[in-house]
Symmetry: C2
């Protein structure tokens, strides 16, 4: 089964649904490594169909899975995610926390979106977390690519004063269309700067040399 | 490798490129059957990447492959199709013929488009063919489906006074987009009526029970 990713410049790609359901042994090494840094109560941001939430539950964590897609949350519940809610990660309520861990897997660190939004969101998460909260996640480095379509998109972003990796896209499947999403793919230096502006620091990097790398962030001193 | 088919109502599907390159043993049975009815000089309409033209050349036919896509014709030539030209099948020149066989494989009978255009095109082909010319091709029967998205599209067509199977779509791959195409999927009775209006009759039907069936048409009395 496949679906279509459509970028706002008209570029399309076909994605396999299976990877959204993949068990940990099929994850990239960087994700397998950082998931071991989860502690206590976890907020799984952009949980999708529960790939990460189910694994963390299996390992004994309490997990709150959130996603803006009602269809995703419905699938999460059917697959056994015990707490799953339709909402944006930015709309956290104090009553849900405090969280020990925030999880942003599968490019979901891209939800930081840009410097300003990212710093704002990270400050919010810091307030919703324990004093020693951590944030674990993975993201694609947009500079590890020499695809001409991607490079043209980066250049288009730069001309507009945006970060190279800022990406607006939506998902399509048969007659279904998601809303348009704003994501930002970012290099480790870019992520480090946003983390710092939001009150976090990079504690650990898991980088297997593939397009995506993983990080563990902790609350900055 | 895959590409995206986008219909004008926003529905999308993912197609495998491999089937456009498939050798005859991978074709549907109906196509394997009707291709044996080719005789003499063949005009391969909507030749794509030369799937049918190459097979007919191998069997000793002279073939003129035409397609409106310059990229397709380029691939045809690179793969060994000896005569391949960028043009619509409707723009035939007398000097090219007369043709013994017109080939419309892989849903290309859909190029008949609707009753009026279909009858017009078939009359043109008749004029460009020998007195005992034949037309071989395959097409999907739009009524052999219970997919709700397809049925809704049929209903939308009917409300507009169109045949159920009339379909406007384009192909997308990465940053490439084809122009929009008008196709018409049709049942055997619908095809028979258009053939008759254009001066042809259905001589043989190859139907393996799948979504697509094949036909051999000959010039009517």
């Amino acid at each position: 089964m496949t679906f279509v990713v459509e970028r706002d410049d008209g570029w399309v790609a076909v994605e396999e649904m299976a990877k959204y359901f993949a068990p940990p042994r099929r994850w990239i090494e960087a994700e397998r490594e950082i998931v071991r840094s989860a502690r206590g109560l976890v907020l799984d941001a952009g949980a999708g169909v529960g790939r990460v939430a189910l694994h963390l539950q299996d390992r004994g964590h309490d997990v709150l899975a959130v996603d803006t897609s009602p269809g995703s949350i419905d699938v999460c519940r059917k697959r056994g995610v015990r707490r799953a809610e339709v909402r944006a990660v930015s709309s956290g309520r104090a009553a849900d926390g405090p969280f020990d861990t925030f999880a942003f897997f599968g490019n979901n660190l891209g939800l930081l979106r840009d410097e300003r939004h990212g710093a704002w969101l990270l400050r919010r998460l810091r307030a919703a977390g324990t004093p020693d909260a951590r944030l674990i996640g993975s993201i694609r480095d947009p500079y590890r690519i020499d695809d001409p379509d991607a490079l043209a998109y980066h250049e288009r972003n730069r001309r507009r004063g945006r970060m190279a990796g800022q990406t607006r896209f939506r998902l399509r499947y048969r007659s279904h269309r998601s809303t348009w999403f704003d994501y930002c793919l970012m290099s480790l230096p870019e992520l480090t700067a946003i983390a710092s502006a939001g009150g976090w620091r990079v504690d650990h990097v898991a980088d297997d040399g593939g397009p995506r790398y993983g990080v563990v962030l902790s609350v900055a001193g």
